[in-house]
Amino acid sequence: MVFEQVRAKPVPRPSAWRLVTLQAVVALIIGLVVVVMAPGVWLEVVMAGALCVLAQSYFTWRSLRHFGSRYTALFVVATSQGLFGKWIILAAGLIPVWVTQPDLSAITMLLVVVVLNTLSAMLAPILVK
């Protein structure tokens, strides 16, 4: 027999949750360091860190929701939605805090967001398998 009938197997999803774990752990470490060295901004670090973890979780879930679909446009659209959804979550989380709580350091929160997202972007090729 030239061809052997095989049953189509689902394409396994890459494990991207390590990135979320990494962000949570790094946010925790930054938070601990800040509690000791600059206790005035610990709340900003915790809030920005939590927001980053939430946004990254959303991106991971949304972008991989249609991974392996025969309908490739769905995957492209889901990734695009995940990407913009992540920044919408961050903006919708940060801007109201900056507007309503002027005492909180906006620059610290922005810095935490930039550091955590840059870190996960840099380590994504290693951590996503």
């Binding site: 949304r62 913009f84 959804g85």
Partner: protein
């Protein structure tokens, strides 16, 4: 690097001028005018300098973007109407061949991607594709050509690429978003709300969580359309402007700048249809999702 006086004070002024829209807007009483005088009563005016534009705030219209958008839309409609009216049977040639190629290309994309039944989707996709393509194509025209010509005629500011204006790209995206919402309700009725509330976890306990996930995804759709197109074209325009700065730095840099402009223009020829294509495909997919009833 042309201007009213023949040259700009510095590179920053040149860049700022080329990225400023001709704006018609509301100036409140007490606003400082370009000549330094103070406005006595609130007025709607065509701004003459960036200081006036900045004071207009939200109540402002980018006249140049609107005029160029409408003009490109008219060119598209007139060209396709003329070709359609003069279309002949048999092997097409010239413009008819070109238009038929585009129409067939869009038609095949819609057949592949759209899974519902709606005769309006292909015309919408065609309109979106050609209009975004023409808007992007304006980026190929040398950055100083039209603005400088109009400046000689007294129009100080002019941005000729509508897709480098977020008002235009997000406006188009919002149009697609409204269509999406309209078809979602038309096809699914209350099922659309149910879909948002019970996906991905089909239990009433998870309704708030599901709504959060799905609403973020829903809002992300127009942003993914509008901001991506704006970002790509704005960055490309910026590079053209930065290269054009070299024309004012002596003959050697001018020639080198010319070579760079040509190279970037050739690369940009790929970006122009690609961005129009992505906008169109996303539009079809979003409208297809609006028609899918599980």
């Amino acid at each position: 690097m042309a201007s009213e006086a023949g040259s700009y004070a510095n590179a920053g002024e040149y860049i700022s001028h080329h990225l400023t829209n001709l704006t018609y807007g509301k100036l409140e009483a007490g606003a400082t005018m370009c000549d330094g005088s103070t406005l006595e009563t609130t007025q709607w005016v065509l701004g003459g300098c960036s200081a006036e534009f900045n004071q207009m705030g939200f109540m402002a219209f980018h006249v140049d973007s609107m005029i160029w958008s409408i003009l490109l839309g008219v060119i598209f409609l007139f060209t396709f109407w003329r070709v359609g009216k003069k279309a002949t049977e048999g092997v097409p040639t010239g413009m008819q061949n070109f238009v038929e190629t585009i129409v067939e290309f869009i038609d095949s994309q819609v057949r592949d991607t759209f899974h519902g039944r709606n005769p309006w989707i292909a015309p919408i996709a065609l309109t979106v594709f050609v209009w975004v393509f023409l808007s992007n194509l304006m980026d190929i025209i040398p950055v100083d050509l039209i603005p400088y010509t109009l400046e000689l005629l007294g129009v100080k500011y002019q941005k000729i690429v509508p897709s480098t204006d977020p008002n235009i790209t997000l406006g188009t995206a919002v149009f697609v978003f409204f269509l999406m919402i309209y078809y979602s309700f038309k096809v699914k009725g209350f099922g659309f709300i149910k879909e948002l509330s019970f996906t991905p976890f089909n239990h009433w306990v998870f309704v708030p969580f599901n709504l959060f996930l799905e609403l973020v995804g829903l809002i992300a759709k127009p942003f993914s359309l509008g901001l991506r197109l704006f970002g790509n074209l704005y960055a490309a325009e910026m590079i053209f402007i930065l290269i054009a700065l070299m024309f004012g730095a002596g003959i050697f840099f001018a020639v080198f700048g010319g070579v760079l402009q040509m190279a970037w223009a050739i690369f940009h020829i790929m970006v122009i249809p690609l961005q129009a294509f992505i906008f169109m495909v996303l539009t079809i997919v979003y409208l297809s999702q609006a028609h899918e009833d599980h």
